[in-house]
Symmetry: C2
Subunit: 504 residues, 2 copies
C-alpha cells in the first residue's frame, strides 16, 4: 500500500476532480443540518471528530431562539468542539453511544439530553438495523478523499463506515492538520449481513482484511470543509498508586505464564482508556514480556513506548488517542505506522475476534463489591460519568477479564470496594481478577463466600477492611449463596451522601 | 451419515473389540473415583448425564465416615441421580458451572458446597486452560462407542468433548435406554487454540462442521458400565399468563418485521429453559411465522411442535430436553432427527456464531428493575436458584435481547418489577425488550428516565404501579441520569423479608 509522505496540497487531499467543487465554508455547510435530524459523526475517544461544522452549528444556535436540535451519534467520546459546544447551545436531544465531556455529562445528568449508554462493539449493527431511527446526515473528519471519491478517515475509524453507508448525505471535514502520513493505517471492513453472513477472517491481530479507505457513494458528499483544527488532546498523569497496580498486574501475568495458563508472550491485550489504563500498560514496558500483541479499541502513549522497546509487534484498535508528546513520537518515526491498524469499532470490539484471539481485557472500575461485581459508569448509583464504552465487549468475551482501580477515591472518603455496588456494568460472571494498589484477587472458580474474604484482604484499603468484614460476617449469619443485608447493602453510599464520607 | 435403526446389541453399542473387555459393574467402576478428584461429567439441562456411577458413589459414601469428596464439573444442570444424591451424601466440595437440583441448591445456599456460576459458553475454554484445576476423570453417558473407540454421546453434548480431552481417564456409561436412532445427530467440533486459532465455519444454523462422535484416545477409557436408566425428565405446564406473554412476543416480533428490522422468517431464535420459555416458543407455533431457525442451547417440546408444523427448518443446540410426551413424539417420527443438530456448548453458545447469525435471545428473569437491569439467579439478592446458564452468552451477543417474566410471583406478594434489582445478571446494556403478561417495553435507544415510565406502565402489575411511580418520582427529584434513592432502592426486598410481601 503506497503512502504519500510528500508535502500536502489540495490535489493530494481531494483527489477526485468533481468533489473538489463541493468545497464550501462551515457557514454554508451548516445549512445542511436541519432541526430533528439524526446525525452520525466520526470520532472515537476524543480523536478524529469533526470540529468546524459543530462549532458553526453552536454559533448558529446561539443567535436564535429557534434552536436546531439533533440526535447525535458518534463512534465514542468526542471533544469539546462537538459534544461540549452542542450541549451548551441546546443542540442535542439524544446522544448515543458514549461521551466523556463535562458539559454533555451535566445535561445528561440533569435529564435534558436523553443518553443511552451502549456497548461500542454492538452499536454500529444497531444503527444499521434502524434501532435509533434513520440516519439523515454523516459528518466525517477525513485526511483525504481518493480518486474514486472514497473517504480516508483521520485519527479514528469508529462507526464512520456505518454512518456513511446509512446516511442520506455526507459532509466531510478535510483536516489538513493531520498528516497524510496516516494513509494506509486504516483497515476498513464491514461485517456481512444475513442471509449472506460470513466469518470475519481475522485470525491474528495483524491481519488486514479490508481497504485503507471507506468506500462510499461519492454522490452523497454534499459539502467539503477544509480545517486544520487539532484534536482536543488528552494528557496522561501517573502516581505512586498506579505504579503499585502495574507491579501487581505484571506479577499476576508472570504467574499465569508460569502456570502455563498464558503463553510467554501473553495473549493479545486490550486496555481501557484513561490515566490508569495508560499507566498500567506502561508497566508492561518495564517487564520482561516480549513479542506482545495489542487487540484493543484505543492506542495510547504507553503502547508507543512498548513498540519503541520492540515489545509489541502489532497493535490493532479503532482510534489513536495520544498526548501531544505521543503524537510527536508517533509522527517522528516510521517505526509505528506499519505496526498499527485502525479498524471500524464493530471489528475492533467484535466478540468473534475477541473470543478467537483470547484477548486479555484490562479495564478500570469506579467501584467493585466484595463479590466481584463492577460499576464502571455511575457515581453513587445515579450520576453518569462517561459510559460503559467497549469494556463490556471485551470483558464478556475475553479469555481473561481483569478490572483495576485504586482502592479509595475522594481523599479516602470513598472506598472503591463496597458491600454492594450501586450500579452494575460488569457482573460477577465477567470479572475474573481484581487489582488495586494493595494486591490481586483472583476470583476464578471461587464461590461468593470465598471471593469476599479475598477481595477484602487483598484489595480493600486497610482503613475500610474492618467495616467490610463487619458487614460480611453479619451478612453470613443470614446465610445463602451470596450473603447480603438488604437494608445495609447500599448504606455506605447513603452515608457518603449524608456525611461526605463512607467512613463510619 | 449412516444411522442404525435396527435392534440393539452389545456389538452395536460397543463396536471396538478391545473396549468390550472394559465392561464392568458400577460397584467396580466407582473405585476409580478418589477423594479430591476434579471430575467432569456429561449432562446438560437434565439430559445425557451419567446415573449409575454417581448413584454408586452416593451408596459408598453413605456407608462410611471417610467420605469421597470431589469437585463436580458438568455441561449444565443434571438430574437427581447425580447432583441430588451426591449433594445429599457429602460427596461434593465444588460445583461448576450450573445446577438446578433442590438438594444441590440447599447445600450451595448453606455454604457447604462452593459454587461458581459461570457462562456456559465460556466454561469449556476455562476448563481447558486449567482455571478449575486439572481434570482427573471424565464420566460420560454415551449411546455407543465406535470401531475406533470414539464416543457417541447420548441426549446432550455439553462440555463432554472438553472433559474427555483433558481428563486422565474416562469412564463410559453406555445407556441402552437411549435408542441408537440418535446416532448422527451430534456435530462435534472443538475450537482451535492460539497460536493456531481459526474461524468457526458456521454461517447458517444448519451447517455441520464436525464429526458425529467425540474423538478420544481409547486408551483413556478405563471402565464401561451398561445402564438403561432414563433421564429424569421434565414436564411442562402452561397457564393463562404465559399465554398473554406469548401473544405480546408474537405481536412485537411482527411489528419488527413490519418495520423491516427483522426478516419475515425472523433471525435464528434462542430461547431459555423452563416452562415459560417453552410456552412462549409454543406461541410461535400458532403464529404466521414460517421458515424459522433455532440456534439455542436446548431443544424442548415446543420446538418439536414448530417442526411438526413445518415452521422451523433446523434447530441447533447442545441438548434435547423433552418431556415424556416430547420424547415419544421425537422417536415416533423420522421427521425430527434430520432437522436437529447437537453441538458442544462452546459452539452452541459461542459469541462468534451468536453475533454472526444475529440470534434473537429470549430469556426469563426472576426480577427486573425500572431501568431494565435483570436478575435471573438470586432470590432477594442472596439465595441462588439455578445460575446464569447460557442466558448471558446469548443476551450480550444477540441481535435482539428479550427478557420475559410474569409481573408478580408468590401470590402477588412479590413484584417482578422493582425499583432496583437485588442482584444483576444482565445489565441495562444487554436488555433490549422486556415482556410481561401486561405488555412490551421496548427499551432500545431510551435513556433511563424514559425506560422507567415505560416499564412501569407497560410491564408492572397494576397493583404495584402506584408504588413504583411514587419511588420514581421522588428519585427524580434527586436528579441524575439514573434516578435512585440509595436508602430505598432495596426497601421492597427488605419489606418482603420482614412482612412476606412487597406490598405496603
Amino acid at each position: 500500500m503506497s503512502r504519500i509522505w510528500e508535502n500536502d496540497g489540495i490535489y493530494k487531499r481531494i483527489r477526485n476532480d468533481k468533489l473538489r467543487n463541493r468545497i464550501t465554508t462551515p457557514e454554508k455547510a451548516v445549512d445542511f443540518i436541519k432541526d430533528g435530524m439524526v446525525i452520525g459523526t466520526s470520532g472515537f475517544t476524543l480523536s478524529g471528530y469533526p470540529k468546524a461544522i459543530p462549532l458553526e452549528l453552536a454559533k448558529k444556535n446561539m443567535k436564535t431562539y429557534e434552536k436546531v436540535k439533533i440526535s447525535l451519534l458518534t463512534g465514542a467520546s468526542v471533544g469539546n468542539e462537538l459534544d461540549g459546544v452542542l450541549a451548551q447551545t441546546g443542540a442535542i436531544t439524544r446522544r448515543y453511544p458514549f461521551q466523556s465531556n463535562s458539559y454533555m455529562r451535566n445535561e445528561i445528568n440533569s435529564g435534558t439530553i436523553m443518553y443511552h449508554d451502549i456497548h461500542l462493539g454492538c452499536f454500529p449493527q444497531q444503527v444499521r438495523c434502524g434501532f435509533f431511527g434513520h440516519v439523515d446526515l454523516a459528518i466525517i473528519e477525513a485526511i483525504a478523499i481518493t480518486e474514486d471519491g472514497y473517504i480516508i478517515p483521520s485519527t479514528s475509524v469508529g462507526a464512520t463506515p456505518t454512518f456513511t453507508d446509512k446516511a442520506d448525505a455526507i459532509i466531510v471535514e478535510i483536516n489538513t492538520g493531520v498528516p497524510l502520513q496516516l494513509e494506509g493505517i486504516h483497515d476498513i471492513y464491514q461485517p456481512f449481513e444475513p442471509p449472506n453472513c460470513q466469518v470475519i477472517p481475522i485470525i491474528r491481530p495483524e491481519d488486514r482484511i479490508g481497504t485503507h479507505f471507506i468506500p462510499i457513494n461519492p454522490e452523497k458528499i454534499k459539502a467539503i470543509v477544509i480545517t486544520d483544527a487539532k484534536d482536543n488532546m488528552r494528557s496522561f498523569s501517573q502516581d505512586n498508586l498506579t505504579d503499585k497496580i502495574k507491579e501487581h498486574l505484571v506479577e499476576f501475568l508472570k504467574s499465569e505464564v508460569k502456570r502455563k495458563r498464558l503463553p510467554p508472550n501473553l495473549y493479545p491485550i486490550q486496555s481501557g482508556v484513561g490515566n490508569t489504563a495508560n499507566a498500567v500498560m506502561a508497566g508492561l514496558a518495564d517487564s520482561d514480556f516480549e513479542n506482545m500483541y495489542v487487540y484493543s479499541e484505543v492506542i495510547h502513549d504507553s503502547i508507543l513506548d512498548l513498540m519503541e522497546k520492540d515489545k509489541v509487534n502489532t497493535a490493532s484498535a479503532t482510534s489513536l488517542t495520544f498526548s501531544q508528546k505521543g503524537w510527536k513520537k508517533f509522527y517522528g518515526s516510521e517505526k509505528f505506522i506499519d505496526k498499527i491498524i485502525l479498524r471500524p469499532q464493530d471489528v475492533s470490539n467484535n466478540p468473534e475476534i475477541i473470543r478467537r484471539l483470547r484477548c486479555i481485557a484490562i479495564n478500570t472500575a469506579i467501584e467493585m463489591d466484595i463479590y466481584g461485581n463492577v460499576n464502571s459508569t455511575h457515581l453513587i448509583g445515579t450520576k453518569m460519568m462517561n459510559g460503559i464504552g467497549g469494556s463490556g465487549d471485551f470483558a464478556r468475551n475475553a479469555y481473561l477479564s481483569i478490572f483495576i482501580s485504586k482502592s479509595t477515591a475522594k481523599n479516602d472518603c470513598v472506598s472503591c470496594i463496597v458491600p454492594m455496588v450501586s450500579h452494575v456494568d460488569h457482573t460477577e460472571h465477567d470479572v475474573h481478577v481484581i487489582i488495586t494498589e494493595h494486591g490481586v484477587a483472583d476470583l476464578r472458580g471461587l464461590a461468593p463466600r470465598e471471593r469476599a474474604p479475598l477481595i477484602i484482604e487483598k484489595c480493600a484499603d486497610p482503613d475500610y477492611r474492618p467495616m467490610l468484614w463487619n458487614y460480611y460476617i453479619r451478612a453470613m449469619r443470614n446465610g445463602n449463596h451470596t450473603p447480603h443485608l438488604m437494608d445495609e447493602a447500599l448504606s455506605w453510599h447513603v452515608r457518603y451522601l449524608e456525611t461526605g464520607s463512607m467512613k463510619q
